[in-house]
């Protein structure tokens, strides 16, 4: 087996085991740690797909930021008490059956479609993802290429995303701060 494929399967295994752990583990803290494992596996897969900047953002934002948010929330809420409660819904069995069926039927179709598309459109040269031409000068590097695209072609979405994040931040602070009176 060639090295790239070996690493793909290794990181895919890490990602899927982490994802299954999130769903299966009873304690939220264990779920959170498995989620971290899954995030890091996905970051490694991004490197294999020659998306280095996205991999770095994945580690910083997901494995860094979002993970810390989850861990703080788990510390904040009292999960010890829930140990005795049932942790699965009554619909667990039909949901598992549905998931299995979905995976087999729709997944098979989607993978077949991807295979035929890959046969029609040959894989591009990875260098195309790491070069950009600025004012007639070729600039190397995936980060530079994505950065130029982000600021040149997608400037308005970028600004909207910044406003979105500001609104989300204010909303999170307001929701977290306000003391609501109990109504039960």
């Amino acid at each position: 087996m060639e090295p790239a494929l070996f690493f793909f399967w290794a990181f895919a295994a890490v990602t899927v085991v982490g994802a299954v752990g999130v769903v299966v583990m009873r304690q939220p803290i264990h779920s959170a740690l498995f989620l971290l494992m899954s995030f890091l596996g996905v970051a490694c897969l991004y490197v294999l797909a020659s998306a280095e900047l996205v991999a770095a953002v994945q580690v910083l934002v997901y494995a860094g930021g979002i993970m810390i948010l989850f861990l703080y929330t788990i510390m904040f809420v009292n999960v010890r008490r829930q140990r005795t409660e049932r942790y699965l819904h009554l619909q667990a069995v039909p949901a598992l059956g549905f998931g299995f069926l979905f995976l087999l039927v729709v997944g098979g179709v989607v993978v077949n479609e991807a295979r035929s598309l890959a046969a029609k459109v040959p894989a591009a040269d990875p260098k195309a993802l790491a070069t950009t031409v600025v004012d007639g000068v070729t600039v190397l590097g995936n980060t530079q290429a994505v950065g130029w695209m982000l600021y040149r072609d997608y400037f308005l979405p970028f600004e909207i995303a910044s406003v979105f994040l500001l609104v989300a931040m204010i909303g999170a602070v307001v929701l977290g701060k306000r003391t609501m009176e109990r109504f039960d």
């Binding site: 060639e2 790239a4 494929l5 793909f8 895919a12 899927v16 994802a19 999130v22 769903v23 939220p28 899954s38 995030f39 897969l45 991004y46 020659s50 900047l53 996205v54 953002v57 997901y62 930021g65 979002i66 948010l69 989850f70 703080y72 929330t73 788990i74 809420v77 999960v79 829930q82 409660e85 942790y87 699965l88 819904h89 619909q91 667990a92 598992l96 549905f98 998931g99 979905f102 995976l103 729709v106 997944g107 991807a114 295979r115 459109v121 894989a123 591009a124 993802l129 950009t132 994505v146 982000l150 997608y154 995303a161 994040l165 989300a168 909303g171 929701l175 306000r178 003391t179 609501m180």
Partner: protein
């Protein structure tokens, strides 16, 4: 050689695990984590197609999706904390007032 089908298949498996997680779990925190798994599956797809087509747009969109996921996690966890203050529980079944 890693093909497009490898990435798409993996992303599909991850997405299905996320869907099953949302349907199966009672703990709101784990449900939110499953949603993050689904968003990750979408990101893998975008990056895989960007790699196949040699077009950076997919990677730019992945960064936007990550930004939206960060906002979603922040708001979702704030809502969970509010719910916990209100009910002293993060169980989905304890938040069923609007059940018809």
């Amino acid at each position: 050689m890693i093909t497009l089908a490898h990435f798409v298949g993996l992303s599909f498996v991850l997405f299905t695990i996320g869907v099953v997680g949302v349907l199966v779990r009672r703990n709101l925190l784990t449900v939110l984590m499953s949603i993050e798994l689904m968003l990750n599956a979408v990101n893998i797809n975008l990056v895989a197609f960007s790699r196949q087509l040699g077009d950076l747009t997919g990677q730019v969109f992945t960064i936007f999706v990550i930004a939206v996921a960060a906002g979603e996690a922040a708001i979702g966890l704030a809502i969970i904390i509010s719910l916990y203050r209100l009910k002293s529980s993060v169980n989905l079944d304890d938040a069923a007032e609007m059940k018809g």
